[in-house]
Amino acid sequence: MKYLLMIYDNADSRELFAGEQGAGLMAEMDALFAELKESGELVGSDALADPSSTTVVRAPDPAAPVVTDGPLAEAKEHFGGYLVVDVASQDRAVEIAARFPSTRFTPMEVRPILGDAGEEM
C-alpha cells in the first residue's frame, strides 16, 4: 500500500533545519531516510523549492493559458516536500510521519495513493 507523506513547512520551520543549529535535526532525518531505504519502504522523496518560486497555470481556454507568479494563496504553511512510501499498513505510514522531525513543528498529511487494483463487485 503506497502513501504520499506531504511535508508542510514555512520559512521559520525551514530555518530550524539550517546551519549548525539544524545539524541535529538533519542527522535525525538522514537516519530515518537510511532506515526507510534499508527496509525497502522508501519509494521516493524530494524537497521543493521555495513557494515564492511557484508558477500557477490556469487554462479554461487551452489556447490562452493564464500564468501567474507566486503560490495559490498566502498560507501559514506550504507544501514543501514529500515522501512516497510502500508499507504494510496505514498505521506504519502514520508512524513514519510521526518520526519525521518536521512534524514536531509543522504538520504532515498522510494520504493513500490510488492503486490500479480493483475488487470484483
Binding site: 500500500m1 504494510a88 480493483g118 463487485m121
Partner: protein, 413 residues
Amino acid sequence: MSPDPARGAPALEDLLRTLAPQVLGALVRRHRQFDACEDAVQEALLAAATQWPAEGVPDNPHGWLVAVGSRRLIDALRSESASRAREERLAVMDPQLAPSPDDVPTPSDDTLTLLVLCCHPSLSAPSQLALTLRAVGGLTTAEVASAFLVPETTMAQRISRAKKTIRQAGASFEPPPDDERDARIAVVRQVLYLIFNEGYTASSGAALARAELTGEAIRLARMLHALLPDDGETTALLALMLLTDARRAARTGPGGDLVPLAEQDRSRWDPAAIAEGVALVERALSTGPPGTYRLQAAIAAVHDEAATAADTDWRQIVGLYELLGRVAPSPVVTLNHAVALGELRGPRAGLALLSCLDGDERVGAGHRLAAVRAHLLERAGEPDAAREQYREAARRTSSLPERRYLDGRAAAL
C-alpha cells in the same frame, strides 16, 4: 512478469524457475547461510540463462546450477572474509565446498522448507511476498519490483532486509516442528493467496506485469498441492485460484473498467480452468470439515457453474456464507453474505444483515460497506440513497478502477 531479456526463452525460463527452489535447498542444506545462498542461486540462474542458449542445456541442469551456485557462494564468502577477516569460518566450511553433481537432494522436502522459511512469521506481508517470489519462484529482483510497481532498489532492499530479519530471528533451514507445522503452512497458503490477489485485482494496461502474478501464484500453489496432495485446504486454495482466474478475461472491460460478476460475458470464462477447479473442490470437500479455502472455493464453483447470472444457485451460496461466517467470521464475509441474501430473499433482507456491521471499525474505514449498501438500495428502488452511498464508497476506495466504477454507478442513477 515483465519480459526480462536476460532470462531467455519461455521453456528455458520455466526450467530455471522449477529448478530454482531445488538448487537453493541443496545449497542451504550444505552451506547454511540462507541469505548468501539465495544471492548465489540468483547468480547461477543468470549464468544459466546467458550460457545455456549458446552452449545447450547441460545433461544435469540441477547439478550444473548447484556447482555454479556453490562457486559463486565461495567467491562471495572469500571476498567477505578478506574484507572482514573471517578466514576461520571459511576454513570450517571448506570440506563441503565441492558438492558432487550427482548428489541427489530431496527437492520436494527442500521446497516446502523454503516456502515455510520465506513466509516466516517475523516478516511483514510485503516482505513475505517478495522473498517467496524471488527465492521460491526464481524471479529476478527487477521482475518482482515491476510486479509491485516499486523501484528495483526499493525491492532489492526489501528482500535483503527480509533475509536479514529471518537470520536474526534465528530461523534455520529445517522443516518446522510438528506442533507449528500446520500454522506455518497456513501462512504459506495465505502468502500465495495474497500474491494471487495482487495480480488478479490489477486491471489497467500498465499492470500487465502484475496480472502475471496470478500465473505465478497458481504455479506455486500447484507446487504446494503436489507436496501436500492430501491437504484439503491446499487443494482448495489451488481450486479457488483456478475458479477465480477463469473469469479474468470477463472481469474488465475496455480501458480496465471493472465488470461486475452479474454483468460478465460468461462465454469468455475459461471452461478448462473451471472444470479443473470444480474437480479439485470436490476432492477437497471430501477430506474433512470445511475450512475457509474449501468454503470460498465451493462458493466460486457455484458461481462458475451457473450458465447465466440468473441461474446462480443463491440458496447454496447463502448456506456456504453462513458456514463461512461461523468458521471464520469477518466483515467481508458478512458483506458478501448480505449480497447473496439480497439475491435470494430480496434487497431488504440484505440491508437488514448489513445493519449488524454499523459501528464496526474494521468496515467503517473501508469502502465496501457503502458499495454493498448502495447496490442493495439501488435494487430496493431507492435511487437517491443509493447514489449517496455509491459516492461515499467512491470517496473511500484507494483503487482507481473502483472509483471509476462507483462514480459511474452513481451517475447512472
